[in-house]
Amino acid sequence: MALLEVRNVSKHFGGLKAVDEVTLSIEKGQIYGLIGPNGAGKSTLFNCVAGTYAPTMGAIIYDGRDVTGWKPWDICKLRIGRTFQIVKPFQSRTVLYNATVGAFIRTSNRSEAEDRAMEVLRKFHLGDKAGVLAKNLTIADRKRLEMARAMATDPEMLLMDECMAGLRPNEVDETLDVLREIRSQGVTIFMIEHIMRAIMSVSDKITVIQFGRKIMDGTPGEVANDERVIKAYLGESYGAGGDGNVTA
């Protein structure tokens, strides 16, 4: 049985169909990619799953349970963690404080929560920055903190919205290693990513959307060679010089 099922989900903003009848299904333990051009509706779909938006139509089924329209904090308690495309750290607080907020979901004891938070921070190479204020972090560290904080809630499924955007190639590789490690511990990962090299190398399966609609899904190999996908990214004319980092 699938861990997460998105059934015919639509989200409209006024007349705009940001997500239009998307269906997909993610198995436990998978790394599942979601790609598509800018404005395709990827983040909006994430927000529907994470409870930020209630879908206009359709259903979200998690672990056999209909969780459509649940509030974000209840979704988090279901053990679905998420990161934001535009990172949202608690700026005036330390890195440890940020992660501890997440870790408090499992315990009300502060020192237990801090221990758990430290453990996760170390995994994301933030251990020695625990005392630094979040506002003083570099972009790469902010992205790491965003992931670490979500992981501190001890999720079974992690939704990652462009966690590698803006990272240098070696930082991307490092993040991919962390992802593989997280997955090996049984966490299912659902990720949006524009860096094709990254998402192609790590995903088991990928869904491609454009203008809110699903174009196709398949393995990275199938997706990379699909006419429709190439068109979606490069335009009907196969025009010269599309996005540099798009091709696999």
Binding site: W73, R93, V101
Partner: protein, 342 residues
């Protein structure tokens, strides 16, 4: 970081101890009731701003109607004392409970609003309460007396049970103790899960929600606690002055003063309200003594100017630079290597 030498720690503890001893022994050598009164009001404002700070600081919104809860405390305990002979020591808990219920009731719809709308609606509510009280002479069996206000019936001599003292000294210690207690509560609360959740939700609500925090619920909780404690300060004020009226105790400038003290001292910090009160109360007192007849409300104008300066140069309030200066001073006298903090 300057966690460090035992010498530095000893000096730190000694200085803090000296300060505590100093504050607790002021009435021993300061006999002038006028100066004691000024200090009492300073501590009362530090107290009220600390309770305000639970919502205004940690929950990240700007309540501008907290005088309503001061008034609820003052009116409840006084009215119970006058009509039923209930000691204000008991009546103050009734006032606190009513304030908490009202605060939660007001908080549930308004705390969902964004910044300016919350500030405006609390302000409107505070003004609403004032107008309501000014137009109420009698509430069931209780005399409210409209705009003329109420006097607490004066009993002869010192009367502990009636919360009345002829000397300022008992009031000094009561409010000092109350201040210490709320500072402790704030410190303790900020280290618990609800405290983390409240601060997280105040700073980045969406992120906090994604981490499992029902942000609105924690803000409402904070509002309840804040209003409860604020009302206790209201009873104190009633017993101190033994006479109060709506314009004074339910006025907008009262609410504004709390916000000014917090913003200038350091919103969402534990020491901020005390620092702010130390700085602003003397200004209030001086303008009131010397200029109240010619330029009433001048203190708010001065606060506004100070606030602009503070926001320009120290947007997080004055506690931050003071803390830095104190740490620098400690480093110097403990002879420790000066380290540049990042």
């Amino acid at each position: 970081m300057n966690s460090g030498s035992t010498k530095r720690k000893t000096i730190d503890t000694m200085l803090k101890l000296a300060l505590a001893v100093f504050v607790f022994t002021i009435p021993v050598w300061l006999s002038s009731p006028t100066y004691l009164q000024i200090l009492i009001m300073l501590f009362l404002f530090a107290y009220l701003t600390t309770t305000w700070n639970l919502v205004g600081g940690f929950a990240g919104v700007l309540p501008l109607g907290h005088s309503a809860y001061v008034g609820i405390g003052a009116y409840t305990s006084t009215v119970l004392f006058i009509s039923l002979g209930v000691s204000p020591w008991i009546g103050m808990w009734a006032g606190a409970l009513i304030a908490a219920v009202v605060g939660v009731f007001i908080g549930i719809p308004t705390l969902k609003l964004r910044g300016a709308y919350f500030a405006l609606s609390t302000m409107a509510f505070g003004e609403g309460i004032r107008v309501l009280v000014e137009n109420t002479m009698q509430l069931g069996p209780f005399t409210i007396n409209g705009p003329r206000g109420i006097s607490v019936p004066l009993l002869p001599g010192n009367n502990l049970l009636a919360y009345q003292f002829t000397s300022k000294v008992p009031y000094y210690y009561i409010i000092l103790l109350m201040l210490c207690v709320v500072i402790f509560i704030t410190w303790w609360f900020s280290r618990t899960r609800p405290g983390y959740y409240l601060a997280a939700g105040g700073e980045e609500p969406e992120a906090a929600q994604a981490l499992g925090v029902n942000v609105a619920r924690y803000k409402v909780l904070a509002m309840g606690i804040s209003c409860f404690l604020t009302a206790l300060g209201g009873t104190f004020l009633a017993q101190l002055t033994l006479y109060f009226y709506p314009k004074q105790i339910l006025g907008l400038d009262f609410s504004f003063e709390l916000a000014f003290i917090a913003l200038i001292g350091g919103r969402g910090t534990i020491a901020g309200p005390v620092v702010g009160a130390l700085l602003l109360r003397p200004v209030s007192e001086l303008t009131r003594i010397y200029l109240s007849s010619t330029l009433p409300g001048l203190h708010l104008v001065i606060f506004g100017l100070v606030l602009i300066l503070v926001m320009l140069f120290q947007p997080r309030g004055l506690v931050e630079p003071l803390e830095r200066a104190y740490n620098w001073f400690l480093d110097r006298i403990s002879g420790e290597r000066k380290e540049v903090k990042s």
